[in-house]
């Protein structure tokens, strides 16, 4: 009996030492992190080597077919593992071979037509916000050189590789008189021409920022509707041509400032106006550049904040999204096996209670690396499912144990069938664009609602959106295989 007990004790102790290869690797990672709260290049290399040399099939998920490490998958796993173990480590604390700083030039174009004068009279929130934005770009570490320009019918270069003092001179010290003195034909805003000029400057090494009120100026004796339609088509063509050559992403940020000056309506009639007016910052770049700007939260840090944001992105390469099927909450039954392969097996509808005959499952989705505002992913009209009988709801993830995921999507149907269910995130023009757009601004001096709108904005954004989403507007896709 005593012998047996001793044996059991030994077995229990021995099994305590039993570790899978994955556990050996994660324990090693914990050991590295315990020392200095980070995993440096050497430590990362040793973990990588352990994975490469292992034949354990459970580590296959971290390897490409050529046995090289799937960096993203492994890093994400480590972060999730540390979180599960209550070790506070951020993504930046884990060394990555992709962490090389890819700097680019930032070309700023500030539209200086007469309609912009009201934004720079005295000290305005427009000046503060743009000064702050450019300052943040300058010190962000991603900016190779900051080039400042004014733009109307043509570009007026102010500073190449601007220093802090130049930024101050460019925007902070601006007054209508200096604005005027800095040149050009300030009589009209030919937005199509401005876009064409700015888009020509965008490439892999150059990001462009365009700041304007984006109010169309049809002018006197011109049919405003025809003018807007023509401008919209022209803008669409300009963007479509650029999209053929570059992975162009466009970020549109709506801000608001105090305005004191002359507003020019659709017939170019000058109207004195003092009050709040919207203006916009458009940022053009490729995905990497826009991602970097997003990652640094430069837009979020703008003094006074922004009202709305929209990112238009090419749909040529549909992006897959990092998601997982949760074991619960669920309606009905399914087994856990297969969930990691995005498969719901042995699915059964609920057979009692208020959800009788219904089937539902929950996805944890990571939209953190996506470019739209997080609120965009809460709107169920921005999703589509291959089976329209599925009802989708989206909410922000508040479960700390799922902190690698930003949103929780709940899907429910009353007609369960075996199928491959595709859930798409669609690129759409948000409602704020329509509510911010005006068709007739002639009564702006008295119409409070009109004062917060931008003449022709709808046509502008629709033109750009048509160029982006002419063939497909699917931004992201998720596929779940359901088998009864």
């Amino acid at each position: 009996m005593i012998k047996n007990l001793l044996l059991i004790l030994c077995v229990v102790l021995l099994t305590g030492c039993l570790e899978t290869e994955l556990e050996i690797i994660t324990n090693k990672a914990i050991q590295f992190v315990t020392n200095d709260n980070k995993i440096d290049a050497d430590e990362y290399a040793s973990l990588e080597k352990m994975i490469k040399n292992s034949d354990d099939s459970s580590l296959d998920r971290f390897k490409k077919s050529n046995k090289h490490l799937k960096e993203d998958v492994f890093r994400n796993y480590l972060i999730k593992y540390f979180k599960a173990k209550n070790i506070t480590i951020t993504e930046n604390d884990i060394w990555s071979p992709n962490n090389k700083n890819k700097k680019f030039n930032i070309n700023v174009f500030l539209e200086n037509s007469s309609s912009m004068d009201g934004y720079v009279k005295g000290i305005t929130s427009f000046e503060t916000a743009i000064y702050n934005l450019l300052g943040d770009f300058k010190i962000s570490g991603i900016c190779d050189s900051l080039n400042l320009n004014y733009i109307n019918k043509q570009v007026y270069i102010q500073n190449k590789n601007a220093l802090s003092a130049d930024i101050e001179d460019f925007i902070q010290k601006l007054e209508p008189s200096t604005f005027k003195a800095r040149g050009g034909d300030r009589s009209v805003s030919d937005l199509e021409n401005i876009f064409k000029t700015v888009l020509n400057t965008v490439n892999k090494k150059n990001v462009s920022i365009l700041v304007s009120d984006f109010v169309f100026s049809p002018g006197k004796n011109v049919n405003a509707q025809d003018y807007l339609n023509n401008q919209s088509v022209g803008i669409k063509i300009d963007f479509a041509e650029k999209l053929n050559r570059l992975d162009l992403h466009t970020m549109v940020v709506k801000l608001e400032s105090n305005f004191n000056g002359t507003y020019y309506d659709k017939k170019n009639t000058p109207i004195n106006y003092s009050g709040k007016r919207p203006y916009y910052v458009w940022i053009f770049g490729n995905r990497t550049q826009i991602e970097k700007i997003n990652e640094l939260k430069i837009i979020q840090k703008i003094k006074g904040g922004y009202l709305n944001k929209l990112v238009l992105q090419p749909t040529k390469n549909k992006r897959s999204t990092d998601f997982k099927i949760l074991i619960r909450p669920k309606i009905g039954e399914f087994i856990s096996d297969g969930l990691n392969k995005k498969m719901i097996l042995e699915a059964e509808s609920e057979n009692s209670g208020q959800n009788k005959q219904s089937f539902g499952f929950t996805l944890a989705v990571n939209f953190n690396k996506e470019l739209q505002d997080q609120s965009y992913y809460l709107n169920k009209s921005n999703y589509s499912t291959s089976n329209k009988q599925y009802e989708l709801t989206s909410e922000i993830n508040i479960n700390p144990s799922l902190s690698a995921y930003s949103h929780i999507l709940k899907l429910k149907t009353n007609n369960l069938s075996s199928e491959s269910l595709q859930i798409d995130v669609l690129g759409k023009i948000p409602k704020w664009v329509y509510s911010s757009s005006s068709n007739d601004d002639s009564n702006i001096a008295f119409d409070l609602d009109e004062q917060q709108k931008t003449f022709g904005l709808k046509y502008l954004i629709e033109g750009v959106s048509d160029a982006y989403y002419s063939k497909s507007n699917i931004l992201n896709s998720m596929k779940v295989l359901i088998k009864k």
Partner: protein, 152 residues
Amino acid sequence: MKTLFSGMYDWFGTYLFYSKDMGDHLNGMDITCTDFIGTPWYMIVGFIMLILTLFIYAIQYHIYDKSRFNKKHHLWIMMFVNLLLNFLVATILASNSVKEGYCSELSLTTMDCIGFGISNAIWSFIFHFIITSITVFRRLSINCRNTTFWKP
């Protein structure tokens, strides 16, 4: 092997003694809930159960192998010891693994650990029963060659 043991334990364990969540945990659902890539407890406990049962059988039939310990009730005593030890091993290992951390999507309780202990004890009983029923092994014993449950 992993599939064999998980199939064996899940056969009735998750219906009678512990939750499906416990089944997933013991099947190796890792702490990040990524997949069944964590410690395969079913396999580990299953191996221990087999080794332990074989060892306890061997003690009575081949190591000790005395005429004064070859009756039916002696076999019952050994079986009870085996059952108890396997219950303890499974319960202790399961509760230690739960204490170390588990997938947050699973809901596990102490009763699940005890339930797994009971399930493992029953399997050890079944294996002990099978081993002592196979004549080939028993014939190697001098004094216990005829000791079975039904034929002392």
